[in-house]
């Protein structure tokens, strides 16, 4: 099962002819993801690794029945790409592009929510349900199919944690990179809600970082009674206030976004927060073993 993407996902790639778009389209195809269409305005009729290219999302969806879009369009045009996909009622739009102006994202989120469309990202590695669909840029070879749900604001850190899960002999149900921007379409709380109802997911690893208060919201949700064991990690615990640490969203501003606030929220909710990724993974595996004992 898993969440968001799976064997029924029919993927459309926006920005398919660009360097990143073409490279990752090939990688997704190799993995076995059903990539049914690409869109680049002005390039209709061409192909990228066997995937037909269309001028518009409307054309692409009408001809191919695509139901997930992944966006590699450059930052100045990416928010418009999100809106274009949403207007064709593609129910899930995953924006990989980093560097979108925040006010463009505000507009795109409004536009998509009006049409009942879910956005993942921007500035994210995508979503992967091992064994059935990779709709993102993550290195597939570290993933194994399994029962641990992973949700993260970071890309590379996610690969690191998935690698640890795999090395420990476990696997991932679905891995969701929600993105490192201040405004993102789908938050920890949304993904936790989805994992709750997914029979394949038995436990969850949440990788948060400084900035904003999405981790605190997730902690509240878990504290009110979340049925699956969940562990957390917070990066940026040594970061100074007021400095943007790479991710546009990773900044402590005033009293919000501090690691202390996030750690306290998780502790209040009874969620284990590890000092290292190894700690986090081994703790969750311990909790899962207790459950099945």
């Amino acid at each position: 099962m898993g969440i968001l993407v799976g064997p029924d996902s029919r993927v459309l790639v926006q920005g398919v002819t660009g360097r990143e778009g073409a490279f990752h389209t090939a990688q997704m195809v190799v993995y076995g993801t059903k990539v049914v269409a690409g869109v680049t305005p002005g390039k209709a009729g061409t192909e990228v690794t066997g995937v037909p290219v269309f001028d518009t999302v409307r054309d692409a969806t009408q001809r191919t029945g695509a139901n997930v879009s992944i966006i590699f369009v450059p930052p100045p045009f990416a928010a418009d790409a999100i809106c274009e996909a949403a207007d064709s009622h593609v129910p899930l739009v995953i924006c990989i592009t980093e560097g979108l102006p925040t006010l463009d994202v505000v507009k795109a989120v409004r536009f998509a929510s009006e049409r009942g469309v879910r956005i993942i990202g921007p500035n994210c590695p995508g979503v992967m349900t091992p064994g059935s669909a990779k709709v993102g840029i993550m290195p597939a070879d570290v993933f194994r199919e399994g029962h641990i749900g992973v949700v993260s604001r970071s890309g590379t850190l996610t690969y690191e944690v998935v690698n640890l899960i795999t090395e420990a002999g476990h696997g991932v149900s679905t891995c969701v990179g929600i993105g490192g921007d201040p405004i993102i379409g789908t938050t920890f709380v949304d993904v936790l809600d989805l994992f709750r109802d997914d029979p394949q997911t038995r436990g969850v690893v949440l990788i948060g970082e400084i900035g904003g208060s999405d981790e605190e919201m997730a902690a509240d949700l878990i504290g009110r009674g979340y049925p699956k064991p969940t562990v957390a990690f917070i990066s940026g615990r040594s970061a100074p206030p007021g400095k943007r640490m790479g991710h546009a969203g990773a900044i402590i501003s005033g009293n919000t976004g501090t690691p202390e606030s996030k750690l306290q929220a998780f502790r209040r909710a009874g969620v284990y927060v590890g000092d290292t990724l190894d700690d986090v993974v081994s703790h969750l595996i311990g909790l899962l073993a207790e459950r099945s004992a």
Binding site: T102, Y159, N163, M217, S235, M245, G246, N255, T276
Partner: protein, 394 residues
């Protein structure tokens, strides 16, 4: 990117938000000249990107041009809350009847622009939020319509702004939203928004943060960047497209991915070291950008050791290794380098680095411990370490 108060006020004026009469100065004589042109009592304000200037002695009144000169001389070139003052703003002092608060910012929770108003202006809004949360009124703006007239009226009424000034404040609120959109601001704050004895509404202070992601379409604002950049290495890194944040320690850190780099900083800190920087080579970095990263990092004379933490996804280990080798060949690296490499093509990368004097580490924790130990063993004075490219460590 943060703007100075005087820069923010230039923009305010363009959007019709009234500001006090005044001008910025970078030397004491100019400050005196501005004060004498304004005539009467003036306020001299140190321009730094930090709140609480008043309490720290960065805002002072002067009754004569000579006083203004003396005050400016005392501020310019001096640190204020850790930042060197390069400009002062000299303005006509206001006859203050009331001090309000008005701002527009991006609210992560609602995913929209939020406007805030309070009758408790003139103090740090976070203090108000903590002590009198009911005194801050909020308006979440629908991006499809912008703030509607009645919504602004509600905001102002609920905030308790006194009536004669309310209409003018409504105009300021609309202008604030308009300039936020046009300038891609992530925060615009007027604190205090002053109502004078004669009923005029004036933005006495201005805080203005611009969304870095939007600078490509804010050509007018980019001119402010150079002068606002606090750190020369950060400025150079920015020019070369390297994501670098300077910190106060001595362990240089390079990794791929913001989360991984942040976590590496945390690990080094936890193991008792002090990171010198945050440096993310990003996804899919080529050898040349890795070399550039090392060059940037070594501009900081405090660096006594370099830690590479690479987990290859789209980034390939062999490509990073080539960049590190290019760095050791072309740059005079006199500090120890520890490399932890995993993921895509990491075996090939590690093979390339074998037989050099770079120290390999199996995991991130081991890497952190090794670099701290090696950096400590460095002579404090000079990074006058011996070999740069040869040697037998592995």
């Amino acid at each position: 990117m943060k703007l100075y108060e005087f820069q923010a006020k230039e923009i305010f004026a363009r959007y019709g938000i009234p500001i006090p009469e005044g001008e910025a100065a970078s030397d004491p004589d100019s400050a005196r000249a501005i004060a004498s042109r304004l005539g009467g009592r003036v306020v001299v304000k140190a321009q730094v990107h930090v709140g609480g200037r008043g309490k720290a002695g960065g805002i002072k009144l002067a009754d004569t041009p000579a006083d203004a000169r003396t005050l400016a001389a005392g501020m310019l070139g001096q640190p204020l809350k850790g930042l060197v003052v390069r400009h002062v703003l000299v303005e006509r002092a206001l006859d203050i009847a009331a001090e309000y608060y008005l701002s527009a910012t991006i609210d992560r929770m609602s995913k929209r622009v939020i406007m805030m108003a309070s009758a408790m202006g003139g103090v740090d809004i976070e203090e108000v939020a903590a002590s009198h949360p009911d005194k801050i009124v909020k308006l979440v703006v629908d991006p499809a319509y912008g703030p509607l007239d009645f919504q602004i009226r509600d905001l102002i009424t609920e905030a308790g702004f006194a009536l004669p000034a309310a209409r003018a404040i409504g105009g300021v609120a609309h202008a604030l939203y308009e300039l936020m959109l046009r300038c891609d601001a992530s925060l615009v704050e007027i604190n205090p928004l002053v109502v004078t004895g004669t009923g005029e509404v004036i933005a006495a202070d201005a805080k203005f943060d611009v969304d870095d992601n939007a600078l490509y379409r804010q050509k007018d604002l980019v001119q402010y960047r150079e002068e606002t950049e606090e750190d020369p290495i950060e400025a150079e890194a920015h020019r070369r497209g390297v994501t670098y944040v300077r910190l106060s320690g001595d362990i240089g850190i390079i990794g791929n991915g913001a989360g991984l780099v942040m976590t590496t900083l945390d690990l080094v800190t936890r193991e008792g070291g002090r990171p010198a920087n945050f440096l993310d080579i990003g996804g899919g970095a080529q050898a040349e950008s890795v070399r550039t990263a090392i060059e940037i990092l070594l501009m900081d004379p405090n660096v006594k050791g370099i830690l590479f933490n690479i987990f290859g996804g789209i980034t390939r280990g062999d490509e990073v290794a080539k960049g590190i080798l290019a760095g050791t060949e072309s740059l005079d690296i006199r500090v120890p380098v520890v490399v932890r490499m995993a993921g895509t093509r990491s075996a090939e990368g590690r093979a390339l680095l074998q037989g050099t004097n770079l120290v390999a580490a199996a995991g991130p924790i081991e890497a952190a411990r090794k670099i701290i130990e090696l950096a400590r063993a460095q002579p404090a004075a000079a990074r006058s370490g011996p070999e740069s490219t040869s040697g037998e460590l592995g």
